[in-house]
């Protein structure tokens, strides 16, 4: 969103919840996520005066840094943000500490306990702690166990653990990880983060659906003919080849972000706005979801991989030519699939989901296409009547758009489609917070509404199990279709919809 001068009448009207005195401990503090997302989000919370004065951030990693070195590294990484407000950074930086910790070494974790007590005394953080596991996924289970063994999770009201994605690699490993995590603490202490849920516009899907009476009566199979969910990136794999080669688009984007968007779009209205009520409904809808053809998944799923592209002046390398990528890699950078949700609301309505790297545009959106009018009374200026569509734009240009037919001016009675638009920029003109700002605050407030519960994660993995098994056992049945960089993906993905007489929306 475009940042504009603040509305002076808006200042002070936002009702922010108060975060209790707190020490946030980040494991993996020397990693990319810490300086790219987490510390900037915390600095933003600090600037918005939403962190309590009794706050400390303790970075932990294996590197033998001192407090000052850690502060220096963070200052380096956030240089452009600090330049806007150096005084605020000086105050914030005084709350940063560092402790060299290897979670696999029990002695280190015991020493960490001692350091936390010192910080409690020095910063009055009252033993209230949030542990953020920003480490390699293979250490999530052992990390939780190490914290539990050191007694750092024994108080369910004052200690909590945030776990980054991916939570498991498949259904079995997610179940196993959940078992370990549950043996270390209570479910309400565990915050499985999915930063898409921190986006204002994803949360707005719930408000749009459940705060308005006009949508809910038509939000079902009687009026909606199909749903498309897209998360498109223009960037390639960049520096993440090591991780991406073992993950691919299905694990990296579909199982978590796109599935969460599907759950929020398709869930039943919760009885109240309460974390468990909302997560119950999301879990139920994921348990009712299935691939359109579970027996022969190749009929409902297309995998692709970006090839070279770009222009003569600015050529773009293909995925297999990227540094760190196997030249014969069969990792997918694009996935498109068709799903169904077998319940009363959605029976028979196809949900088409797609994501990919190096696509033509960066955007995330949910498109609900409504059934056509039963009788066409008018000539359509575009050849045939256009189905009504509600487009929920998640990013960029956040907002919503409703497409419907109107009379084309003139003496005849021809119809043509027009778009009615709502734009966050035009209506509010305030930049919305990064997803991590909201989610870090929520975790410190012990509010799990926007975090995924164990049964949701497992249901999401179970949904894609036939595909993951197929990729594992007989990958040739789910071949990789190359597509030119900066296009809308392989032609096979278009054919997937063409079989149903549909087209992907070209935004």
């Amino acid at each position: 969103m475009v940042a504009t001068a603040t509305n002076p009448l808006r200042v002070g009207l936002r009702q922010e919840r108060v975060i209790a005195p707190q020490c946030l401990v980040i494991f993996g503090a020397s990693g990319d996520l810490t300086h790219r997302k987490l510390v900037p989000a915390l600095f933003e919370l600090f600037k918005q005066r939403r962190l309590p004065s009794e706050f400390a951030l303790l970075g932990c990693a294996r590197r033998p840094w001192s407090d000052d070195e850690f502060r220096g590294k963070m200052a380096e990484a956030l240089a452009s943000k600090i330049a806007e407000n150096p005084e605020a950074w000086d105050q914030f930086a005084s709350k940063l500490y560092y402790e060299p910790v290897d979670l696999q070494q029990p002695d280190d974790v015991v020493r960490l306990g001692g350091r936390l007590e010192t910080i409690d005394q020095r910063c009055a953080t009252r033993g209230n702690r949030t542990f953020y596991l920003s480490v390699s996924p293979k250490f999530y289970g052992s990390g939780c166990r190490a914290l539990a063994d050191a007694g750092l999770l024994k108080d369910p009201l004052r200690s909590r653990v945030v776990i980054e994605k991916p939570f498991g690699r498949d259904y079995g490993s997610a179940q196993a990880l959940n078992r370990v995590v549950k043996s270390c603490g209570q479910e309400n202490q565990v915050f499985r983060i999915d930063h898409y849920l921190g986006k204002e516009t994803v949360q707005n899907i719930m408000v749009l659906r459940f705060a308005n009476t006009i949508f809910e009566p038509i939000w079902n199979r009687n009026y909606i003919s199909s749903v498309q969910i897209t998360a498109a990136e223009t960037v390639g794999v960049e520096e993440r080849a090591g991780y991406y080669e073992t993950s691919g688009a299905l694990r990296d984007m579909v199982q978590n972000h796109l599935t969460q968007m599907l759950a929020i779009t398709a869930m039943e209205p919760p009885g109240r706005f309460d974390p468990e009520a909302i997560r119950n409904e999301k879990a139920k809808v994921l348990q009712a979801a299935r691939l359109a053809d579970e027996q022969e998944p190749w009929n409902c799923c297309i995998r692709g991989q970006y090839a070279s592209g770009g222009s003569h002046d600015a050529p773009l390398a293909g995925y297999r030519q990227e540094p760190g990528v196997d030249p014969n890699s069969t990792t997918e950078t694009y996935v498109a699939m068709k799903l169904f949700v077998d319940n009363w609301r959605w029976q028979g309505v196809p949900f088409y989901v797609r994501t990919g790297k190096r696509l033509a545009k960066r955007l995330s959106e949910v498109v609900l296409t409504f059934r056509e009018a039963p009788v066409h009374l008018f000539d359509a200026a575009t050849g045939g009547p256009t189905a009504n569509q509600l487009i929920l734009r998640i990013q960029p240009d956040e907002g919503a758009e409703f497409r419907f037919e109107v009379k084309s001016p003139g003496s005849g009675m021809r119809s043509r489609p027009i778009d009615m638009e709502f734009s966050y920029d035009e209506s509010f003109g305030e930049p919305s917070d990064e997803g991590y700002v909201r989610l870090l605050a929520d975790a410190m407030l012990s509010d799990p509404t926007l975090f995924t519960r164990s049964d949701e994660v497992e249901a999401a993995w179970r949904l894609y199990t036939p595909l993951l098994e197929l990729i594992e056992d007989s990958p040739w049945q789910l071949p990789i279709h190359p597509y030119e960089s900066r296009t809308w993906g392989p032609a096979a993905a278009d054919a997937l919809l063409a079989r149903d007489g549909l087209l992907w929306r070209r935004p």
Binding site: T4, L9, G12, G429
Partner: protein
């Protein structure tokens, strides 16, 4: 949800015995391992309920007296406005109405359950101690001190939930003054204490001084009492640094939110720099809410007050903008057929913005309960008009107080801190 009674029949004790009794009640020996006193907050309520007492006495309302703002009380109050020939715009619990009913005959009696009738919104917050001061209309009535626990005692099979107690001091005002000495020992220093002055702000100043001393947090309603006294008291308390919350300010929430919403789209924000006129219409002759609204706008937009003039019709003032241009402010009292429960609620607001070049803008906010014909009239055809309807559905005072208590609010809202002194100045 309907209000609930305490689970235990209140016990009448000598005032001096109350602190010892309650100390023993919550001692480890007495409680064993089965229950504990909630470690939350204490709430002292000044609960005169003058209108209810007079309506019951004169036979216009059936008892018991609860101190709650019930539908029956409001209906009886509205009927009494008609019976006593007061203007129809008189609110159903207004001071002039209470004075008029006091002249009527009647000696009806009813149970007085003030302090024992607890609104669920408050009891859900599990207060450790609710202390109610219940002055009676009989000024000579002796002091009665009642005590009741909130949760079943162990010998009655009590559970492990956090418990609280209620203390009621009831009697004539002189008797209540005598009983004030027991209050301090009843307020554990380890938890916050709130004082809700649920009466006229200009009554019993000495009692308010004793009850609402810092660091106790104060809740008032500046719609109740003499307007100038209300605003001066609010200003003095804010300036002293005490945490003060005003229910009248809370009821402005939807007005402030709606006005901010009008200027959320960036292309409208420039108009805020070119305001030339602000009009506020309020119900009846109680300008405090309208002045707080105007003061909030002036503070947010950096206006300086130049002069103010008070008349029968309302308040007129002149502000100057950052660029030195003048802004005319007028607050008008307007009659309404069905007055709100609270005196002086805003019914309409108009902002006129006239840039030197380009089209002017007129913003009109109008209460959903009535029209704002006065604000809609008068040569604005050339202006771009934005008109919004403001919801004026107010929660009960108990709900508002519960919201304040649950939100912590250990300091005065900074917007109120800035607006209160300016609002008081507008009426000085």
């Amino acid at each position: 949800m309907s209000p609930q009674l305490t689970l235990q029949t209140p016990l009448e004790l000598e005032p001096a015995e109350v602190p010892t009794y309650l100390e023993q009640l919550w001692s480890t020996e007495q409680q064993g391992n089965t229950g504990s006193g909630a470690n939350t907050f204490c709430l002292l309520i000044w609960q005169p309920a003058w209108a209810e007492q007079q309506l019951v006495r004169s036979g216009r309302l059936n008892g018991p007296i609860t101190g709650q703002q019930s539908d029956a009380l409001l209906a009886a109050g509205r009927q009494a406005v008609i019976d006593t020939d007061l203007p129809l715009s008189t609110p159903p619990t207004a001071g002039e109405l209470i004075a008029a009913i006091a002249q009527l005959e009647g000696e009806n009696l009813a149970d007085d359950l003030r302090g024992q009738y607890i609104d669920p919104a408050l009891s859900e917050l599990q207060p450790r101690r609710l202390i109610t001061l219940a002055p009676t209309i009989n000024a000579d009535q002796r002091l009665e001190t009642l005590v009741a626990a909130y949760c079943p005692l162990p010998e009655e099979g009590g559970g492990t939930t956090a418990c609280g107690d209620v203390v009621v001091l009831r009697g004539g005002q002189n008797a209540l003054r005598d009983g004030m000495s027991i209050l301090q020992p009843l307020l554990p220093p380890s938890m916050p204490s709130w004082v809700w002055w649920n009466g006229f702000l200009d009554e019993a100043p000495d009692l308010m001084e004793q009850l609402a001393c810092a660091p106790r947090r104060l809740i008032v309603d500046t719609a109740v009492g003499n307007p100038r006294h209300c605003l001066n008291l609010l200003r003095a308390r804010v300036e002293s640094g005490q945490a003060v919350n005003d229910l009248n300010w809370l009821r402005l929430r939807s007005w402030r939110e709606t006005l901010a919403m009008v200027f959320d789209p960036p292309n409208r924000r420039d108009a805020l720099c070119h305001i030339t006129q602000l009009d506020v219409d309020v119900e009846g002759h109680h300008p405090t809410q309208g002045l707080l609204m105007a003061a909030w706008i002036a503070d947010r937009l950096g206006w300086q007050l130049q002069r103010t003039e008070i008349s029968e019709e309302g308040v007129a003032a002149q502000f100057s903008r950052h660029d030195g241009a003048d802004i005319r402010f007028q607050l008008m009292s307007v009659p309404t057929g069905q007055p709100s429960v609270h005196a002086g609620q805003i019914v309409g607001l108009r902002l006129i913005c006239q840039p030197e070049q380009g089209q002017g803008v007129c913003v009109i906010l109008c209460a959903e309960s009535g029209g704002c014909m006065r604000l809609e009239g008068g040569g604005m055809a050339s202006l771009e008009l934005h008109e919004e309807i403001v919801s004026v559905k107010h929660a009960s005072p108990e709900m508002d107080v519960a919201r304040l208590l649950s939100g912590g609010h250990d300091s005065t809202n900074p917007l109120l801190s800035a607006a209160a002194p300016l609002a008081a100045k507008l009426l000085s």
